[in-house]
Symmetry: none
Subunit: 226 residues, 2 copies
DNA sequence: TCGGGCCCTAACGAATCCCTAACGCCCCCG
DNA sequence: CGGGGGCGTTAGGGATTCGTTAGGGCCCGA
């Protein structure tokens, strides 16, 4: 997780860099407003810690500049403790406001709280093969644009194969993942449900191009149906 | 925008209610931890303002109880100003922490900042399917131009499905979002209320085109009723 | 006190899904 | 040339889940 520290006080920057780096964060720094905006454009941080009292651009201008194109969480650090200053910064688009001097562990906790709110990176990619598109997170399968109905078992089996695309998945692994660890010998289930998946997804179910059999071993999914 | 105020001090509650109501917020209140959790389940607020010093459950327990099933922004208000208290609350899942006494306009600005962070709900003002139009922000449903009356439970169920359009929503998720986290096995509720929604919204309730069932898994809303 | 809306409980066919069983095919090996 | 194991396919019974209806308790306003 990347954090941009925008502060013109070298002492604070150094202290924060050490503390944050030690906790596994990736730290970028900037010493004035213009540099902060450029650094944000270049590095796309996950959280911005912004000192309002920097030379050059005013802190509010930096916030507005960021908000023009980014929704990155902004934590403002300022020596001014008047409530009007806080209101101005928060309404400009800041997400949190801490007055100096501050406790380091409180700042860290607030950074963690802000970082939690950006799970945007968790949406799983969609997988496509032939005219079929599979959206794993939405549990949605379409073939030539129309939705395909899969039963729970069919879906679990397809999911295991897709998550291991281009890799051979042994029969035992498939049985364990789909039916549970006590069914590792009932290979009949696999034949049955693979056939149903092929019937629903393959362009030519009798000649599989994507859901391939490896006799005696298991099955393999490949997206380049050569 | 709905705000849940959880505080056992009637003075503070009264003052906040007046201030927030004057600014157009919908205010719900609770005087202890248990009541706060119940109110959150029932009303699904957009922001929770939580006093840590309430009788009954500890503030941390309330935060954890909410976080078990909800991502609603939580603003903690507390008389304790030690950084350890702040760290504990923030790491438990709170999003902001303000110490008493606080300036009313600062609290309002922080509430606004938190409210901004849930744009996933507001980026889709109206959803249309068939001859039905749903305005999520106005809580209004029309079918062929005439208003449809939905009960509160029906509305919450429809809302969850619409906010996840084209995505499969598991039975467990639906039950948690609509009835609360302790009803995750009562699938009878879903069958009942889905039927009522279909009766009120589907052109042919016995052959659903938009509110689809995926047996054994959950339900899915799709707007392209092919 | 009454009536209506809302929510929950209970129960019943109907639809769906999973598993069992059997048969034909291909390939390998004897 | 004949047998056998692994695979693909089909059909049908049993269990789970779903859709639907009816009825009772609760709260609230008339």
């Amino acid at each position: 997780m990347k954090i941009l520290i925008a502060d013109d006080d070298p002492q604070i920057v150094r202290a924060l860099r050490i503390t944050l780096t030690a906790r596994g964060y990736d730290v970028i720094t900037a010493a004035d407003g213009r540099a902060a905006l450029n650094a944000a454009i270049e590095h796309h941080p996950d959280v911005v810690v912004l000192d309002l009292g920097m030379p050059g651009l005013s802190g509010i201008e930096v916030i507005e500049g960021l908000r023009g194109w980014s929704t990155v969480p902004i934590l403002v650090v300022s020596g001014r403790s008047e409530s009007w200053d806080k209101v101005e910064a928060l309404d400009a688009g800041a997400d949190d406001y801490v007055t100096k001097p501050f406790a380091a562990d409180e700042l860290l906790a607030r950074i963690r709280a802000l970082g939690r709110r950006t799970p945007a990176a968790t949406d799983e990619p969609t997988i496509a093969f032939g005219d079929v598109v599979v959206d794993l997170s939405a549990r949605l399968v379409t073939k030539a644009g129309v939705a395909v109905r899969l039963t729970p078992t069919e879906w679990r089996l397809l999911e295991v194969l897709l998550r291991n695309h281009d890799r051979l998945v042994s029969r035992e692994t498939l049985l364990t993942e789909v039916w549970g660890p006590q069914y590792t010998t009932d290979t009949g289930y696999l034949r049955l449900y693979l056939a149903q998946l092929r019937k629903k997804l393959e362009p030519e179910p009798s000649k599989p191009r994507y859901l391939l059999t490896e006799a005696g071993m298991g099955y393999r999914f490949t997206s380049d149906g050569a």
